[in-house]
Symmetry: C2
Subunit: 342 residues, 2 copies
DNA sequence: CGTATATATGCTCACTTTAAGTATAATTAT
DNA sequence: ATAATTATACTTAAAGTGAGCATATATACG
């Protein structure tokens, strides 16, 4: 694999100083067994942090934005992208610190891409990382992450109370309650971006303190490195990843995209593990099988799996016809949070 | 109001020939009584068709894309935008015919904006148009539109059978069935874009035949003007509007955005009419009130409305607290299609 | 004044869906 | 053998949904 960060090679789309340059960035996701993975590339010279792969948009060569994305991804990696979906276009000033040095304004069109678990090794400049390494507070499969109660919620509460005006305080408090399921609220696993932005604003993620330092208005008393609130990525790539996670978590509920990540045949438990990995919660096993069966999402192959300790399971395959039968076929399961050790 | 199409005035973001220029286009939506409205501007010199308002993105002046949009909209119109949401970034080659004449590649970041029904008259170069004028096949409030059965479905079926290869035919047939609820399928009011793209590919909308003519590969035997399949808009603006409609129809089901379009107080029937207008279907009145009540979306004001023939109705207001109580508060109503005269 | 008509609102009821659990089957590890 | 592990069938209580009936309060019009 030869994924390269396009800091070298963006020339075709680079405008004049004061101009605009369009990047196409990709959150390329896969799932191996119980772990959701994101493709990351080695950091460019300036930054010690890894980042999402991205490439330039070539207005003379690329017929569409998506074609542009597919082209450079498949050129630079051995990956064939299956499902591809545009996420959001990011254009905040200084999302790339380079801009401060007089570079052009980089506007990034973010994409979500799904690839099946491959035998690809981490090679060259790219590697697969568990996405909860960057979002530890999002993994509720083993109960509420300790970091939430012990670090994040206390800090966010303090941050909320630290606002200057009273309405500001109340607004901050409400945002924190809503995003982190305080005061009787329930955890919404799709609000990944909301939560990241709160942490950013409160200075609890490394990117925030770095950006603040560059603005020379930093309050350096509360620097938190990646050891506390997940590993950092370059520029605003963690924000893009948050957008991708939220979108994917939402999408599996009403479109059969989960099967873009599965092998051609699979056991129901493997399917459940994949959904749980992406959703960050646990599912009720018996209800899960009833659901996928009665939604017509899968059909039995007749074969049974190689045993993995316990009664052998039947192998299933995706039923593509479901798309024509139901209005919005997906794994519409209530992702329940398991109470842990308490 | 002084909305201007930015064909005049896009200079700040215009790159060199072969470069990229970023436009910010807005689907500005409101609802008056029973009619969903979209803000349109007078066509630029070249086109006889109206279009969405759009303006340039100024990389030196605008801090964020959304700020850029708000800035030029509020400069050029008297409108204060309330809810604003990024939709999609459109970058297909030749989405603007000007590009063929050697202009820069225009990439358009589309936004959905909601404004309350205002007393604003159609004035100057902009006007409010009922969005079903451009999508007559989407309005099922009085049963399935005649155009669907009498014109669209027969033509699309013929188009599907006209594909060269057998798998192509089958793919086309499936897309048509799914999008237009054929063969026992149910109408999904969110698939606005899917349907528009089918009509475009089949050459049933005016834009398609125009674009084809410009490519000089047109089959001009099947030109359909706006009288048959809705009025046309400039460039790809009908596609952008389709995206906005689909997104809005989806969003009202799980976010209380409908209240961005209502007056501060309203009767439940007015609220129902607004939802029906956007959704393009009818709702069961009694269940609708039960739903908005038990979801906690509204609260009574104690006042009653000025009568409009019939028993006076109580006035309600939005309950903003609902956002903190439920995971995804919205008007999650089954938009049923009323069977008409059959 | 009385009747038709229109809208508003409360309530019932059958049916479906959902969350959660019990029970049992078929395998591996020790 | 026995414990542990995974698979799968079935039950049940609670909640939600779709449809309709009944009644209340207004206007329009003879």
């Amino acid at each position: 694999m030869n994924t390269r960060n396009s800091d070298r090679g963006a020339a075709p789309a680079r405008g004049p100083a004061g101009g605009v340059v369009i990047e196409l960035s990709a959150a390329i996701v896969t799932v191996t067994d119980v772990s959701p993975k994101i493709l990351l590339v080695r950091p460019p010279e300036l930054s010690p942090r890894p980042g999402l792969p991205y490439g330039p948009f070539d207005p003379t060569g690329h017929r569409t934005l998506e074609e542009g994305l597919r082209t450079w991804v498949e050129e630079q990696t051995a990956l064939h992208l299956g499902y591809v979906e545009q996420l959001y276009t990011f254009g905040d000033r200084f999302r790339d610190p380079q801009e401060r040095a007089g570079g052009p304004r980089p506007v990034s069109v973010g994409y979500l891409a799904l690839v099946r678990q491959t035998a690809l090794k981490d090679a060259g400049e790219s590697s697969w990382g568990d996405w909860y390494r960057y979002f530890p507070w999002e993994d509720w499969r083993d109960g509420v992450p300790t970091i939430n109660d012990q670090l994040i919620v206390p800090h966010l509460t303090k941050w909320a109370e630290g606002a200057k005006s009273k309405p500001d305080r109340s607004r901050r408090r409400e945002r924190v309650n809503l995003a982190f399921a305080l005061e009787g609220g329930s955890w919404d696993n799709e609000r990944v971006l909301d939560r990241y932005e709160l942490l950013y604003e409160a200075g609890l993620v490394f990117e925030a303190t770095l950006d603040a330092r560059l603005e020379v208005t930093a309050d350096l008393t509360t620097i938190h490195t990646h050891t506390h609130t997940g590993a950092a990525l370059t520029k605003d790539h963690r924000r893009i990843l948050a957008t991708a996670m939220g979108r994917l978590r939402a999408k599996i509920k009403y479109r059969p995209v989960i099967f873009e990540l599965m092998a051609p045949t699979f056991t129901l438990f493997q399917l459940q593990r994949a959904v749980e990995a992406l959703s960050g919660g646990r599912l009720h096993k018996q209800n899960f099988r009833r659901l996928v069966a009665q939604e017509g999402l899968v059909e039995p192959t007749g074969h049974i799996s190689a045993q993995t300790g316990g009664r052998p399971a039947e192998l299933f395959r995706f039923r593509p016809e479901v798309v024509h039968e139901r209005p919005s076929p997906g794994v519409r399961v209530p992702v329940k949070v398991s109470k842990r050790a308490e």
